[in-house]
């Protein structure tokens, strides 16, 4: 079973290129012994990649297995493609009454609720039925009728999910389906990074299909992990380069999951307020302290106008760094919020 229920667009391979400094000298306690190892793992409908400095391949393999076990565990928690996941259990039962869940799931729901409230609904995990109506659940794009969308309003809306201190979740409107796609990979990355920290890993980077990455520490003799943000397609040139250390970056765009009808491209990232795919946004990148936050925020700033995004960021994520590309490929506009790295202006009129 695959994780595809994403309300967010995952980046094509190469969209977000990760450039690593390959050196056998490290800055940790035994720097000369550290080497870079790379492992990959399929989960959540994408490929996770772990770049890890370790003393030998055996130690790297043991850490990788733990990290990817944790990713798999979170997938089993959050997958809306697996009937036995905790999220599916909530989807199946919370419309009929309160469902007791565990603290971790409650944390996930509370963080989702936080970003929904902060963005006034631009971010919303109750878009499960909406994603299906638009055919994005299993890549079968279609345009729903206005009547369908009208009916779906009854089963869409973050305010219809009630959480309480007794760790229960209840839907006030039966039929709601949670879709973790806009935040789940970030939540998984944060959980996996906790494993890396517990294992006292000094330098590693975990990438969830390149749409969300977390940079832990820095490669030897480097100040951080180098991330390349490419220009809008079809350009293959660099839009900006940023160095990350102990922080996360998430990106979103529409290049991979979409469908075209009568020459119009419909993006899989929904604006839950209009019940329709977002228009006018090309790509966004967001740096935030946690992967959960950067993942959710990349949805927020993709859905909101740049002006709305700046207001939301000032109020709820003042330490974030954001690069937004709007418009279309012929007339792209770039907007930034605390994005300190140079941006190649040839890609956009800022």
């Amino acid at each position: 079973m695959r994780w595809r229920g994403s309300s967010k667009r995952w980046l094509a391979v190469g969209w977000l290129a990760i450039t690593l400094a390959l050196t056998s000298t490290a800055v940790a306690a035994a720097p000369s012994r550290l080497r870079l190892f790379t492992t990959t793992h399929s989960a959540m409908g994408t490929e996770f990649t772990l770049y890890l400095y370790s003393v030998d391949s055996e130690a790297a393999a043991a850490v990788s297995e733990e990290v990817f076990d944790e990713v798999d565990r979170i997938e089993q928690l959050l997958s809306n493609y697996r009937e036995s996941s905790e999220l599916s259990r909530i989807n199946q039962n919370a419309g009929a009454g309160p469902v007791t869940t565990d603290p971790e799931m409650m944390d996930f729901l509370q963080q989702s609720e936080y970003w929904s409230r902060a963005s006034n609904g631009a971010f919303d995990i109750t878009v499960g039925r909406l994603m299906k109506a638009w055919g994005f659940f299993r890549h079968e794009g279609r345009i729903p009728t206005d009547a369908e969308l009208g009916d779906l309003r009854a089963v869409t809306g973050w305010e219809k999910v009630k959480l309480d201190s007794a760790r229960t979740v209840q839907f006030t409107s039966p039929g709601i389906e949670l879709d973790p796609g806009g935040i789940g990979k970030g939540f998984a990355v944060d959980a996996a990074v906790r494993i890396l920290r517990a294992d006292h890993i000094a330098a590693a980077m975990l990438s969830a299909g390149s749409s969300t990455v977390y940079a832990l520490g820095a490669p030897p003799h480097k100040t951080g992990w180098r991330i390349v943000v490419p220009g809008p397609l079809p350009s293959k040139n660099t839009l900006s380069v940023i160095t990350l250390r102990d922080t996360s970056l998430s990106s979103a765009d529409c290049s991979q999951k979409n469908f075209t009808v009568a020459g119009h491209l419909y993006c899989h990232i929904m604006d839950p307020r209009t019940m329709r795919p977002v228009e006018g946004r090309i790509q966004v990148s967001v740096v935030a302290p946690s992967a959960t936050a950067s993942d959710a925020l990349s949805n927020v700033v993709f859905v909101e106008t740049p002006e709305q995004s700046v207001a939301t960021l000032k109020a709820f994520a003042p330490n974030a760094h954001v690069l937004i590309v709007s418009g279309d490929a012929e007339a792209a506009r770039c907007s930034t919020f605390h994005w300190t790295s140079p941006v190649d202006a040839t890609h956009c009129a800022r």
């Binding site: 130690a59 393999a61 043991a62 603290p103 006292h200």
Partner: protein, 415 residues
């Protein structure tokens, strides 16, 4: 409305409101857990227990201090902790005990918990050695405590339905079970450094060492042995097996692959294989019967029926020449048709629900603690699988056929 109607109306309203109140906030008897062993499996069990209304964690016991903070995070509050299981069992705020320590510690921990009279949810395998298993069985039965073993497949709705249909004869007579648990990974947990004397290595990677682990045959195979016991209605009589280290020459003393054949009455067999360098078949349990096959996985179950092999005589067609007139064409006789695997779809077995098997298992345990029903995967079920594991653990090194003892004075209970 007269007084009688009014009273009836009020009563109906009161009943309705009571029903609504119960639905909104079900009054469940709280169950406070004490946990012995808070490693990866213990944590997963706790996660599932906390999804059952009314369950809380009162205290934990583990000898590895990093577990304390991990459990605090998992439970969402600071949980009292100790490294001494006797100290945990001496607490007066524990209603039931979860034991998820390494298998070699099960006897000490389960027997101590049984003596307190509290219900126990014990991870598999029941015990490490044959003697351990007997001692645990004795302690649980003599102290008359509720005990559920962590064979959660028994609570997977699709497994229950599949085996119900097998027992109903849908695949004829089940004669063989083939079980695979194939992975591609070293089964090793990372160890913090420095660890100069290797103590942390043996503490964290206890599954890799023969003195503390039954290896793949116990840690993974016990589930499949229990399922075969369930299918055949008995425990195996003997086992032959082998193991080796094929890929991971890292100091471990249990095999990184194991193959065992368990013999049941009437010549029935369970064949178990576990390897750690190829995950093609993953984890699957096949039941072969004279009329069909059933595949059970961690997520679903599928039934396949044998090809129709009817040999009813057919009459010659009168509209064309008979075989006597046209003759029989001679040629090579070999046909692969009968040897090729069936590649068509099977019938997916639909269970009553899709709940995670571990959640279903721990929920059932809590219901049993509350007196709502008896325990399905009880201590006898645990014994029958674990005693086979204990013997198989020796058999794969000796590579001799070994007999599997039955429980002494085993009380009547369904397998």
């Amino acid at each position: 409305m007269n007084r009688r109607d009014f009273l009836q109306s009020v009563s109906a309203a009161a009943l309705a409101s009571t029903t609504i109140a119960r639905a909104a906030a079900p009054a469940v008897k709280p169950v406070r857990l004490g946990v012995i062993g808070a490693g990866s499996r213990g944590q997963e069990n706790i996660r599932q227990f906390l999804r059952v209304p009314g369950v809380s964690v009162a205290a934990i016991c583990d000898i590895y201090p990093p577990r304390y903070e991990q459990m605090n995070r998992l439970v969402g509050k600071e949980v009292p902790h100790t490294a001494d299981h006797k100290e945990l069992l001496a607490r007066n705020d524990i209603d039931a005990v979860l034991i998820a320590s390494p298998v070699a510690c099960h006897a000490e921990h389960v027997i101590a918990a049984a003596k307190t009279g509290r219900p126990i949810y014990g991870e598999k395998a029941l015990g490490f050695t044959v003697e351990d298993n007997q001692n645990i069985l004795d302690a649980v039965t003599s102290n008359k405590v509720l005990f559920q073993i962590g064979h959660e497949y028994r609570y997977a709705s699709w497994a229950q339905e599949a085996i119900r249909r097998v027992h109903a004869g849908e695949i004829g007579t089940p004669t063989h079970a083939y079980a695979y648990w194939h992975r591609n990974g070293d089964w090793r947990r990372s160890v913090p450094s420095p660890d100069p004397d290797g103590k942390l290595e043996h503490l964290i990677n206890w599954r890799l060492y023969r003195e503390s682990s039954g290896g793949l045959g116990t840690e993974l195979g016990s589930h499949h042995i229990d399922m075969a016991n369930w299918v055949f209605g008995e425990q195996p009589e003997s086992v032959i097996g082998t193991n080796s280290i094929c890929r991971y020459h890292d100091g471990r003393t249990v095999g990184d692959n194991v193959q065992t054949v368990f013999s049941y009455s009437q010549g029935r067999r369970l064949v178990f294989s576990s390897i750690t360098d190829n995950a093609k078949v993953g984890c699957e349990f096949w039941i072969y019967g004279t009329g069909g096959s059933v595949q059970i996985t961690i997520e679903d179950a599928t039934i396949y029926y044998e090809k129709n092999s009817s040999n009813t005589p057919t009459a010659d067609q009168t509209v064309s020449k008979t075989v006597v007139e046209r003759g029989v064409v001679t040629g090579a006789s070999y046909s692969t048709k009968g040897e090729m695997p069936y590649r068509g779809p099977g019938e997916k077995i639909v269970g009553a629900h899709s709940e995670d098997p571990t959640l279903a298992a721990v929920r059932s345990f809590i219901e049993a603690v509350r007196g709502e029903h008896s325990i399905f995967a009880d201590v006898h079920c645990g014994f029958r699988a674990a005693v086979a594991c204990s013997v198989a653990h020796d058999a794969v090194f000796a590579e001799n056929k070994m007999l599997i003892p039955k429980a002494v004075q085993l009380t009547a209970a369904g397998v």
